[in-house]
């Protein structure tokens, strides 16, 4: 027992210097930036409210959507053609389709997130000027139409890939249009597939756990420097709290 205690103490002692160093560096950087912020305080509108930012966000939204749909549909038809010619013997074909589908799903999700972010920039900066300018109204309406079509087309493409996977794996269940899709899909996965999901979720949890302090710091500094208000940093803290609480709640439930 004494040996184990010493081992634990030794391990903690080994980690402490780096931990203290990181805290000191964090404090130093925070102090410098905090102090400097009073000297270089900017208005957020000067940074994000300009016409250039709105136009850039619009172009990014459209460009990412077009690229995603071209690459996604190309991958879909390529996978579909390979599946048509599959004799259920060649192991390379299903692997190619599975990897292709996963990349496509990733792309579709990234496209949706980019679309949400860019649409928010376009809409929020144009809405308050709609009354003064009909061209602005037209611009916002075009952005709304592109945004909605893009999201629906994304869901449609997702469903097409899910159908392809279901065709190849008859045991898979669920439709993207169903609100319980993820639950049904997970239930139809076998132990190895579930393990893959758990490992991916764990990687995501760990990554976000390390990122949250930095994102919080970033939003906090943005408030100090750009006067964006504390809302963003509070939202980050709430998300951090939700993720951590769900993790511990589930871990306690499972350990019983």
């Amino acid at each position: 027992m004494m040996n184990r205690r010493e081992e634990i103490k030794k391990e903690n002692k080994k980690a402490v210097p780096l931990f203290i160093l990181l805290i000191c560096i964090g404090g130093l950087v925070g102090g410098i930036v905090g102090g400097a912020s009073s000297m270089i305080r900017l208005r957020i509108d000067q940074v994000f409210g300009g016409r250039l930012i709105v136009d850039t966000a619009f172009v990014i939204m459209v460009a990412v959507a077009i690229l995603t749909h071209i690459a996604g549909w190309y991958t879909y038809f390529k996978c579909k053609n390979r599946l048509k010619g599959w004799d259920e013997e060649d192991e390379e074909v299903p692997e190619h389709i599975e990897v292709g589908s996963q990349y496509a799903m990733w792309g579709i999700t990234v496209n949706s997130i980019v679309s949400f972010a860019c649409f928010a920039v376009v809409a929020s900066n144009s809405m308050n000027q709609i009354g003064e300018d009909t061209a602005k109204l037209r611009f916002v309406m075009i952005a709304v139409v592109i945004f909605v079509i893009n999201l629906f087309a994304g869901v449609l493409m997702q469903q097409k890939f899910v159908d392809l996977i279901k065709e190849m794996n008859p045991e898979k269940r669920g439709s993207v249009y169903d609100v319980k899709f993820t639950k049904k899909w997970m239930e139809s996965c076998d132990e190895a597939e579930k393990m893959q999901t758990y490992q991916s979720a764990w990687a995501s949890y760990r990554c976000m756990g390390s990122l949250y302090p930095f994102i919080w710091l970033f939003t906090y500094l943005a408030d100090l420097l750009l006067d964006i208000g504390i809302f963003a940093s509070v939202v980050v803290a709430v998300l951090w709290l939700i993720q951590t609480s769900i993790y511990y709640y589930k871990a306690i439930q499972l350990s019983r």
Binding site: E88, P94, M168, N169, E171, D190, E191, A192, E193
Partner: protein
């Protein structure tokens, strides 16, 4: 990965592809492929199901061996 297997060999003897093998034991083709490559260690239940299909003891298909890399890792820990 210290768990080794002869699944591919047994499957070939039975003359079934990965897709069919997966159906026989209630898992996907991908999982059979991962087990054969040694990328995934099946649960005891799945290993027993696989052995049952071939009507052999589970140890004839799966066996555990400490490898050098694993030993080295343990020594470092």
């Amino acid at each position: 990965m210290p768990l080794y297997n002869r699944l591919k060999e047994y499957r070939a003897k039975l003359g079934v592809n990965q897709q069919r093998m997966g159906k026989m034991v209630g898992v996907s083709r991908q999982t059979i492929s991962q087990i054969e490559r040694g990328d995934y260690s099946p649960s005891v239940t799945l290993a027993l199901k696989i052995a049952k299909v071939f009507e052999v003891q589970v140890e004839e298909i799966f066996w555990y061996e400490e490898d050098e890399e694993h030993d080295e890792q343990k020594r470092r820990d």
